[in-house]
């Protein structure tokens, strides 16, 4: 075996040999190596997470015509470490009347719900935690824990603003979960499997070219799921101060903040994996596992950058508009697209690749066009109704 192809397996074998030499039982050696693997993945993610703080602050400052952090270290690169030191030495407060156990559990669950997502992410052909054959459902299941942590934080803080923020956030997350799950079923149809590794392997043609509408709806639903602008009604500063995490201070707030950043990055990487081929890039992934990881991180950062771009460009949407947009537009379009895709897949199953790709692409464009026309028609009718009511009021 070549070290560049499968570095983790070779490292594990080497470690296994050493442990066997020390007389450790095979079972315990395997358990120990498994834990080390998990530790390695989490350490890598946390290092990326520290970097994300700097990336986010630097990018937002560019969008707002500022320079951003530039004092601590070259280009302000040491800034996140200064932030961490500050968070660690802050007083750890607990509000009066808080439900102490749940209050302390919520930030942990918030971070955990993001970290466990990476168990199914294939970083390279040979490097992945578990190849679950229900990977897509697992992602939604992990999201359920995130929802739980928010309602926990909102309720246990004993603060009406945090409770209101949690209510809004959870309402949005529960609603947008539906189009998101529906859109994750479209790569599943193309790949014929729910496993994330199988979906990556099936993308000889990026699924974005087969289903551009699905990719866009997935991104919108993912941004809402993250609770980022324009869907950040849950932490609307002007009315709710900062939503479910008002009462948290120090590193507990840091957990929520780091969890949110890593969550955004994670959804960027899922967007890359489901629709842009994951670690695959013109055969580069076959050269070396490290190159494959670099490709995946690069694509994930592009997804993350687009999420930031949307966040710092668009304004916040009112909560009722947000829910109406989801239930009356996004969800029906997602269901229609799923039905059309399943039908076209059965119709074109035996046809050559170019016909399959162009047929899928055209059916996507058609669904997008029809749904936009229907939305335009409904909006015109609504406006007419409102204007008529206004003129009737004026006459009276």
């Amino acid at each position: 075996m070549d070290f560049h192809k499968d570095p983790l397996q070779i490292a594990a074998n080497w470690l296994f040999g050493i442990l066997a030499g020390w007389g450790v039982a095979d079972l315990w050696a395997q358990v120990l190596i498994g834990f080390l693997g998990i530790f390695l993945l989490i350490a890598l993610l946390m290092v990326v997470d520290i970097l994300l703080v700097w990336v986010e602050r630097k990018v937002v400052s560019r969008f707002q015509s500022r320079i951003g952090p530039n004092r601590v270290g070259p280009f302000g690169l040491i800034q996140p470490f200064a932030d961490i030191i500050k968070l660690l030495i802050k007083e750890d407060t607990t509000p009066e009347g808080a439900d102490r156990a749940l209050y302390n559990l919520a930030p942990v669950l918030s971070m955990m719900s993001v970290l466990i997502l990476w168990a199914v992410v294939p970083l390279a052909p040979t490097i992945l935690g578990v190849d679950l054959n229900i990977g897509v459902l697992y992602i939604i299941g992990a999201g359920a824990i995130g929802t739980l942590s928010i309602i926990m934080a909102g309720w246990s803080s004993n603060n009406k603003y945090s409770l209101l923020g949690a209510f809004r956030e959870v309402a949005v997350m529960l609603s947008f979960e539906i189009p998101m799950l529906t859109m994750m079923l479209i790569p599943t149809i193309f790949a014929g499997s729910m496993g994330i590794a199988a979906i990556t392997q099936a993308q000889d043609v990026w699924f974005f070219f087969l289903a551009p509408l699905a990719a866009i709806i997935f991104l919108i639903a993912a941004i809402a799921e993250l609770g980022r602008a324009p869907f950040d009604m849950g932490e609307a500063e002007s009315e709710l101060i900062s939503g479910y995490n008002i009462e948290y201070s120090g590193m507990k707030f840091g957990m929520f903040y780091a969890g949110e950043l890593l969550h955004a990055f994670t959804f960027g990487s899922f967007w890359a994996i489901l629709f842009f081929g994951g670690y695959r890039f013109f055969g580069l992934e076959k050269v070396s596992a490290f190159l494959a990881i670099a490709v995946l991180l690069f694509k994930a950062f592009i997804g993350y950058w687009i999420i930031m771009w949307v966040k710092y460009t668009l304004l916040r949407i009112r909560i009722d508009h947000m829910l109406i947009f989801n239930w009356k537009f996004l969800t029906p379009v997602a269901f229609a697209l799923l039905m059309v895709t399943a039908f076209m897949n059965a119709l074109l199953a035996a046809s050559p690749t170019w016909l399959y790709v162009s047929g899928m692409f055209l059916s996507n464009v058609l669904v997008a066009w029809i749904s936009l026309e229907l939305a335009r028609f409904a909006a015109h009718k609504e406006r007419e109704k409102t204007e008529n009511a206004l003129t009737a009021d004026a006459r009276r």
């Binding site: 054959n133 229900i134 939604i140 299941g141 359920a144 929802t147 739980l148 309720w155 209510f167 979960e177």
Partner: protein, 169 residues
């Protein structure tokens, strides 16, 4: 004892403790969170039984949707979320007797069954449980009719709920 048995015992103990706490805690929201713990335990038991699809569906449906709706309902309907009523009512003796009877019945029934002491046969290496489940749900020889009837029933319930809650002007 094998590793599987140890894991099962730990998970079962956590599940039972969480389920017991649901009915003994005085705080209604706490009870809802304990219920989530018990549901997670059941999901873990599904995972131990190699029913990974059921385990994840258990988390998605029960923890992600139903438990959250419980919490919403409690928060929106109760003025004071600490339940003030007594934990037991007059029927507790009868209830305890009934549950003891059911437990004894199940215990003796399962003691007579030889499946309890046997270890399960391992799956063949190429066996895909999820694919088998999916095939069974849509195959006319298997469960397509119950599956479709259940979905029609759910849609009817959904439409009925919307009709009842709809604000007729």
């Amino acid at each position: 004892m094998t590793v599987d048995q140890i894991i099962f015992l730990i998970v079962a103990a956590i599940t039972l403790f969480a389920a017991f706490s649901v009915v003994t805690t005085g705080n209604l929201i706490r009870a809802a969170f304990w219920l989530i713990g018990a549901l997670f335990g059941v999901a873990a038991i599904f995972a131990i039984l190699h029913a990974s699809f059921l385990a994840v569906v258990q988390v998605v449906v029960y923890v992600g949707a139903i438990a959250i709706l419980f919490i919403f309902a409690v928060m929106l309907t109760r003025k004071d979320m600490r339940d003030q009523g007594a934990q037991l009512n007059r029927n507790w003796k009868f209830g305890a007797f009934l549950s003891a009877l059911v437990f004894a019945g199940l215990f003796f029934l399962l003691r007579g069954w030889d499946g309890v002491s046997k270890t399960a046969a391992a799956f063949p290496s190429d066996f895909d449980a999820v694919a088998a489940l999916g095939g069974a749900l849509v195959s006319p020889d298997a469960y397509v009719l119950p599956f479709e009837v259940a979905s029609v029933l759910l849609v009817a319930a959904l439409v009925g709920a919307v009709y009842v809650a709809y604000n007729h002007k």
